[in-house]
């Protein structure tokens, strides 16, 4: 059985090319900032906001892959086991994206100031006499930000690597030995606690919601989680389909693809539910301190992205992958996975950009180049991790159940 993944030269070259594009874009961005004589505050904010957007987006997807493993292990689910090396490999690379996000956010918090001495991305860093920001200072301050970020990235890195190493250790464990299984089970419970207190609550508040520090939504973390969750399933699906095309993952069949398609479909609807719940309550109560957020996005300069977001992330999944045959068709699910990842990238874009940039937003060479760079890092790191161990979790207690699984 073809259970080892040899990185094809084409994939490696593609990832190298994408990383090179990302690095060149970053250098280009820095050069424009340093040498451009008329680089304004908006240009500087754009430079940082785009880095923040992509690093946070990729960190959250990666973190979600760890969450998926933990949730499935806790539910004693077998449906993931046939291709569990994929979420494991993505989750084990959280240190890369988490590390980048840590560096970017810390640079923004500690180093970035525009010409008025204001931090345009995280306004709470320089509250001045703003009563609202001063009122939030006990939570929104540098110490809390640094603490939560380091603890989150550290714990995610620990759990991401732990789940993978335990899964690999099971291969050489005695046959039908349940010791590792129950260890993963206990660690999963612990991780869900960590996850609930970080990515499902505080981390999106600090990383994303505090970009518009005057605004708040109690639903926000769930909403970003739903975005990341559906993107994580799309990412897993892309890897599974890629590996199958390479002749690996022979145990994975249409039933498993159908499972992933179901998750992509169902959690697109779940995302819409949260998206709308957040919107409708604010629309209905019509409080000025809440509605300015949507005023800018829905009726202001971001209305194109606002409606594109709805069409790409709700209308397209519900119409294209609702039916059973389309969820079992490799082309439609692959296409929709790419569409969903792009759609949720746009979703994060419209969460972050309106605060610092106002009406001067772009999706241009810089935004696309940085995104390509992150995609390149993802392809490079995950393929390297995948090639280091067998793709078949041999000796896993649930492997047989996973293979005969009917969707």
């Amino acid at each position: 059985m073809n259970d080892r993944f040899e990185i094809p030269a084409r994939l490696k070259n593609t990832s190298m090319f994408l990383i090179a594009v990302g690095v060149l874009t970053l250098i280009g961005g820095i050069a424009c900032l340093l040498m451009g004589h008329n680089s304004t505050d908006v240009d500087k904010s754009r430079f940082w906001a785009v880095l923040l957007h992509d690093s946070v987006f990729f960190t959250m997807i990666t973190g979600c892959c760890i969450f998926i493993q933990a949730a499935v292990a806790l539910a004693q689910g077998s449906w993931l086991v046939a291709y569990r090396r994929v979420p494991e490999a993505i989750g084990a690379n959280i240190w890369v994206f988490g590390g980048i996000a840590t560096v970017v956010t810390f640079l923004i918090v500690f180093c970035y100031k525009d010409s008025h001495g204001i931090n345009a991305i995280y306004p709470w860093v320089t509250p001045g006499n703003d009563k609202v920001l001063l009122g939030k200072a006990p939570f929104l301050n540098k110490g809390m930000f640094v603490g939560f970020t380091l603890v989150t990235v550290g714990l995610f890195t620990f759990f991401g690597n732990k789940f993978r190493s335990l899964s690999i250790a099971q291969e050489s464990a005695p046959k039908n030995d349940t010791k590792i299984y129950w260890k993963v089970f206990r660690l999963s419970g612990l991780f869900l606690l960590v996850y609930g207190l970080t990515q499902m609550s505080t981390i999106p508040w600090l990383w994303i919601m505090s970009v518009q520090a005057h605004w708040y939504s109690t639903l926000f973390s769930w909403y970003t989680f739903a975005s990341a969750f559906v993107s994580a399933f799309s990412l897993i699906l892309l890897w599974v389909v890629y590996l199958k095309n390479q002749g690996n993952l022979e145990l994975v069949n249409k039933e498993h693809i159908h499972d992933l398609g179901k998750f992509m479909f169902a959690f697109s609807i779940f995302w819409t539910y949260l998206w709308f719940a957040q919107y409708m309550l604010i629309w209905y109560s019509n409080q000025p301190d809440e509605t300015f957020y949507f005023k800018m996005r829905q009726q202001g300069p971001y209305s194109i992205i606002f409606y594109a977001n709805f069409i790409i992330n709700f209308c397209m999944p519900i119409l294209i992958i609702m039916s059973r045959p389309s969820k079992r068709n490799y082309f439609t699910v692959t296409f929709m996975a790419m569409v969903i990842i792009f759609g949720h990238w746009l979703d994060f874009f419209q969460m972050i950009m309106p605060g610092p940039l106002g009406e001067n937003w772009h999706i241009n060479w810089y935004e696309i180049g940085i995104f390509m760079g992150f995609a390149g890092i993802m392809i490079f790191c995950v393929s390297r991790t995948l090639s280091k161990a067998s793709l078949v979790p041999a000796n896993n207690l649930l492997l047989k159940e996973a293979v005969v699984h009917l969707s």
């Binding site: 709308f276 919107y279 409708m280 209905y284 019509n286």
Partner: protein, 193 residues
């Protein structure tokens, strides 16, 4: 009402039932239905049953629910009885979405339940012939239609050879009908079963 003659074979194991079903189909017999005490995975494929279009019906019911909700609410609030409340416009679409959603779900759920009952011929107050009293307990029961071109004895012998524990021939109503479980139908009394 279509009263037909059936050869009924009862098996005590699904491991025997599966090859039997395949053999019966490949020999050209027409399986009326197979009754099992629990859902046997893969039996529908072995029997050659095609998937139903229940889900397409569900989609259409859902669309009916959506359009009923949006149409009815917008008619009331924009032309029949327009009221301003909460300072919202008359055509306040976001406020209607929860009800639209609920009605979509309600229509789809109720419609699909009724369609499911129709496709499976089950409904309160409706009766179907029971081929074997233990088909919901521990026996796997296969009923084969016998038409005028077939020999009764040959069919029974064939079914016995597939490993059936009990084989008999019954005259029974093929479909469903309004009736009471505590009363026998005239044809049942006549056939003595």
């Amino acid at each position: 009402m279509a009263i037909k003659k059936f050869a009924v074979a009862a098996y005590d194991d699904e491991e025997v039932l599966f090859p039997a079903v395949k053999k019966v189909r490949s020999s050209g017999y027409k399986i009326h239905d197979v009754y099992t005490p629990f859902a046997v995975h893969g039996l529908d494929e072995a029997m050659g049953l095609k998937g139903t279009d229940l889900h397409i019906a569900g989609f259409i019911y859902g669309l009916c629910g959506t359009s009923t909700a949006v149409g009815f609410i917008s008619w009331i609030f924009t032309s029949d009885w327009p009221i301003i409340y909460g300072g919202k416009p008359h055509f306040a679409l976001p406020a209607w979405i929860p009800i639209t959603f609920e009605l979509t779900v309600l229509f789809a759920a109720v419609g699909m339940t009724l369609t499911f009952c129709y496709l499976n011929q089950i409904m309160p107050g409706v009766k179907k012939h029971i081929f074997h009293p233990r088909q919901s307990d521990d026996m796997f029961v296969m009923a084969i239609e016998i038409n005028s071109h077939m020999s009764e004895q040959e069919t029974v012998a064939f079914l016995k050879a597939t490993g059936a524990k009990e084989v008999n021939v019954q005259v029974a109503e093929a479909g469903w009908w309004y009736g009471r479980w505590d009363k026998k139908e005239p044809y049942e009394l006549a056939a003595g079963n």
